[in-house]
């Protein structure tokens, strides 16, 4: 597709632009948090850590949602073969989004003064619960926004008899998005009950709703990019969604190990959330199949890079790193430490953030009417954010392993005196990889915001950049992909053993060698394998340009022979 087919698809452009701006701001807040971890007195009293963190977390949710909305609006008319219903409501949704983001950013600062705006037992302005920091006023506006999205999507879709699995995935996704949000809209007196319902929103959003929307959108983007068969993608989407819900519904139990709920949750949580990687392996396999169903070169490499990054980091961040800490015997150590940060960053940015960026790289050039665009900034940005995020995952995990030992095994709980100095190496490394990531964010935000508006850069010699179809550029076989995946899981197993080893009597007596060794092998092994696999995958796709280019080169070199 080179141009849009339906006028209302253009409504998605403004949501993509907002997504980019919020992403940039979120990254900036992340860097500030990293700086405060090194010097906790920085900005103390002006912008305390908890305020910065709630901005960082809330902006992450807002920009991922903006990306979802934008992508759904862009593909909605294509799925339905007609214009979006109620375009004026989408404009309302847009201004509501801007208003609620600004309002929430302002009200979060009130936590420094302890002002929550209690009225009839409810906090109107902010409520100080991780991920659900927004106060009740913002909650209601967000609920209305979700309802608008549901209404528009369901009104645009064809009659239900004509739905395929992608319609089902998106339809169920947006409705569940709205319903699950309601569980976070009440003040609960008991801490255990509050945490029980808080995870309804957080876990079921990520594992039950976002994942379903993700599967459906990845499926449809593959259809658009590779002309993959809607039926065979639908097959993958059906089993993906079924497995997500069958494992994720009871998998939520892994949040109920230590919040004051009974011990039996440890059994159910360990059992079912160990199955949660299954749909992700399924999705991983499918992107391989769809990218290899024909040997044609990929027209839009930045878009495909981010899509591949999304599926691979979903596998690594959500699947493997999630698996390592999902058992009660490993979670008892990882819980409440930096070890979970590694999983959270790779899974959330990787899976959902990269999907929005992939969709933006696919849709923005089309909406700006560009038949071709300079892909070099996009490719550079991908490698910067991908490497930066893998590096962040690595240092969070290493810092977390040290934290588990010092804080839990030795029981030293003076953070500024004992724990932070022990984690100093990791704490200082965070902004290093953070700057790599942030520079990538800067490049891609500038590239996408100004694409088609700035003067086109002098095109480099594209042919020279095409790698040879040998070595890293040779065709990627299914066997090889399987071996890469196996290697990732082997390193995941090593990480799991490392976390498990905190239960050993020798470690309990203060000998950290075994867990440190396992983490020192497992995390770099896993993340380097991931990096190399994605490089291998993308190189093999880039090398495909040799195939159609070959006759042209022959014609240019020896016109006489051709004649």
């Amino acid at each position: 597709m080179i141009r849009i087919e339906y006028e209302t698809q253009r409504l998605s452009l403004r949501f993509f632009m907002v997504m980019l701006v919020l992403f940039f701001l979120q990254t900036a807040f992340g860097l500030l948090l990293a700086a405060q971890h090194i010097d906790p007195t920085l900005l103390a009293g002006m912008l305390n850590f908890n305020v910065l963190r709630s901005q960082h977390v809330n902006l992450a949710i807002f920009w991922v949602l903006s990306g979802f909305i934008a992508t759904i609006l862009f593909v909605g008319p294509l799925l339905s073969k007609r214009e979006l219903a109620e375009p004026w409501l989408i404009k309302v949704l847009f201004y509501a989004l801007l208003a609620v983001v600004a309002w929430n950013a302002l009200t979060q600062v009130l936590a420094q003064q302890g002002v929550a705006g209690w009225w009839m037992g409810q906090p109107l302005l902010q409520e100080g619960l991780e991920y659900l920091e927004a106060g009740r006023i913002a909650d209601v506006v967000i609920l209305i926004g979700f309802a608008i999205l549901c209404w528009v999507v369901l009104r645009t879709f064809p009659p239900r008899a004509q739905w395929n699995e992608i319609h089902w995935g998106l339809g169920l996704g947006v409705v569940a998005l709205t319903l699950v949000w309601i569980f976070g809209m009440a003040f609960v007196e008991r801490l255990d009950v509050q945490e029980y319902f808080r995870w309804y929103v957080v876990h079921y959003w990520v594992e039950g709703v976002w994942e379903v929307i993700h599967i459906a959108l990845v499926g449809f983007l593959l259809v658009l990019m590779f002309g993959a068969n809607v039926k065979s993608v639908g097959y993958a989407v059906f089993w993906g969604i079924s497995l997500v819900w069958l494992s994720g519904l009871l998998g939520n139990a892994h949040h109920y190990f230590w919040i004051g709920t009974p011990e039996f949750w440890q059994f159910w949580g360990s059992l079912f959330s160990a199955l949660e990687p299954l749909p992700l392996i399924f999705c991983f396999w499918h992107i391989y199949l769809d990218a290899h169903q024909d040997g044609k070169p990929v027209a839009n490499m930045p878009a495909f890079s981010f899509l591949l990054g999304s599926v691979v980091l979903e596998q690594v961040g959500a699947g493997i790193l999630g698996f390592t800490m999902t058992f009660a015997l490993t979670n008892v150590w990882s819980h409440g430490t930096w070890v979970t940060l590694s999983h959270a960053h790779l899974a959330l940015f990787g899976t959902f953030g990269m999907l929005g960026l992939a969709a933006a790289y696919y849709a923005v050039p089309i909406m700006r009417g560009l038949a071709a665009f300079d892909q070099r900034p996009g490719r550079l940005a991908f490698w910067l954010v991908f490497t930066g995020m893998l590096g962040l995952g690595f240092v969070f995990a290493i810092g977390g392993t040290v934290q588990v030992f010092v804080y839990r095994t030795l029981g030293l709980d003076w953070f500024s005196g004992d724990v932070a100095p022990a984690m100093q190496f990791a704490k200082v490394s965070v902004p290093v990889f953070g700057m790599v990531f942030a520079s990538g964010v800067g490049v891609l935000v500038y590239d996408l915001l100004t694409m088609g508006l700035r003067a086109p850069a002098a095109s480099g010699d594209e042919a020279a950049a095409v790698p040879p179809s040998a070595g890293w550029g040779r065709r990627l076989s299914g066997w090889e992909t399987g071996l890469w995946l196996l290697a990732m899981w082997v390193f995941g197993g090593i990480i799991t053993l490392g976390l498990l080893s905190f239960n050993l009597p020798s470690v309990q007596q203060g000998n950290a060698l075994f867990p440190y060794l396992m983490a020192g092998i497992g995390y770099p092994g896993l993340l380097l394998t991931t990096l190399l696999f994605v490089r291998r995958f993308l190189r093999s796709l880039e090398a495909r340009r040799h195939v159609p280019a070959a006759p042209l080169v022959v014609a240019a070199v020896s016109p006489a022979g051709a004649g």
């Binding site: 008991r190 065979s232 150590w333 940060l341 839990r408 030293l412 100095p421």
Partner: protein, 323 residues
């Protein structure tokens, strides 16, 4: 579409089967959830936990209002920037929390904890009004006072009111009564004997230094100024008063002695030994303009006359303003 192209699909059947399995799981989940919150489990409930007349439910509101979870963790959930608070009440006790929360920017000293133990309501909650017995009952308080007392924390001072502090402690009392299935795990070793502890444990330090000079300073006589300085640190004075002219919570001590200052009622007073002694024993009697009454506690019950004189001597040593 739930099958490969060309095969018979049985789409409806597959969808119904998947829904049936999902339904079974949902029933299982709801049943497990219902059992989780039965009264017969005996889980602690905030509405039934009281602390010195304060309310744990209101305390949870305070906890949320200040977004404590944005730095700390509670039952392990939160921000990993600061320690988990679930069992803090159990370990450090109410008097330590009472001493810490009003000025969270500095770690409380034994004097500050002792002062709060003189409040009968707090002593009743703590189970003792004697500092030594308290430190034995709450070893984390002893560890905090010994290693951190008087030093700066990385937590900002929060504008908590007396009411909010009481409610917050009630909430933390509730969370430490919760059964969290053994989390966080209890350490099997004494972490303070490991090199990760700050300052380096004495045994390791002794091994590291080549020429230990035993007892060299033990017999040195203590001057009134040095005694006063030790008392000022021990009683937490320096958490709020700088030893230079800087204003923290209270006025700085540098150059204070001998100066003339304006009181809230507009009158002027010379800062001499009598005025400083009165300010320590009865701080609200003559408040300096620009400061709130009630911010500083009275030390009348906690310091001997000689100790007050030593502290005044220490203040005087920080520089005199000649009239």
């Amino acid at each position: 579409m739930s099958c490969k192209p060309g095969e018979p699909c049985h789409e409806g059947l597959k969808r119904r089967r998947a829904l049936a399995v999902l339904g079974l799981m949902a029933i299982l989940f709801v049943a497990l959830s219902a059992v989780s919150f039965l009264d017969s489990r005996g889980q602690a409930v905030p509405s039934q936990v009281g602390y010195a007349g304060f309310d744990a439910v209101e305390g949870k509101r305070v906890f949320q209002s200040y977004n404590c979870m944005g730095c700390h963790t509670i039952v392990g959930n939160g921000a990993y920037f600061a320690p988990d608070l679930t069992k803090l009440y159990d370990k450090a006790g109410p008097a330590w929390l009472e001493a810490f929360l009003p000025s969270a920017g500095a770690w409380p000293t034994s004097g500050a904890v002792r002062r709060h133990l003189q409040d009968p309501a707090i002593a009743a909650e703590a189970g003792t009004d004697d500092l030594d017995a308290y430190l034995e009952a709450y070893p984390a308080a002893a560890e905090r006072i010994a290693r951190r007392g008087g030093k700066a924390t990385t937590m900002p001072n929060l504008p908590l009111t007396r009411e909010e502090i009481g409610n917050l402690i009630a909430f933390l009392k509730y969370t430490s009564q919760m059964n969290t299935e053994g989390w966080p795990p209890t350490p099997a070793v004494d972490g303070l004997s490991f090199p990760q502890a700050t300052p380096l444990p004495a045994a390791l330090r002794a091994a590291a230094t080549a020429t230990p000079q035993e007892g060299a300073a033990a017999a040195a006589p203590v001057s009134a100024v040095a005694h006063g300085e030790a008392l000022a640190v021990d009683n937490g004075c320096t958490a709020c008063h700088a030893t230079d002219r800087q204003r923290l919570v209270g006025p700085g001590w540098g150059g204070l002695y001998g100066s003339t200052t304006t009181l809230a009622d507009g009158s002027a007073v010379a800062v001499d030994e009598a005025y400083l002694t009165q300010s320590i024993l009865d701080p609200d009697a003559r408040i300096v303009a620009g400061f709130e009454p009630g911010a500083m506690p009275s030390f009348a019950d906690m310091l001997e006359a000689g100790e007050v004189a030593a502290i005044v001597a220490f203040i005087r040593s920080l520089g005199e303003t000649k009239p």
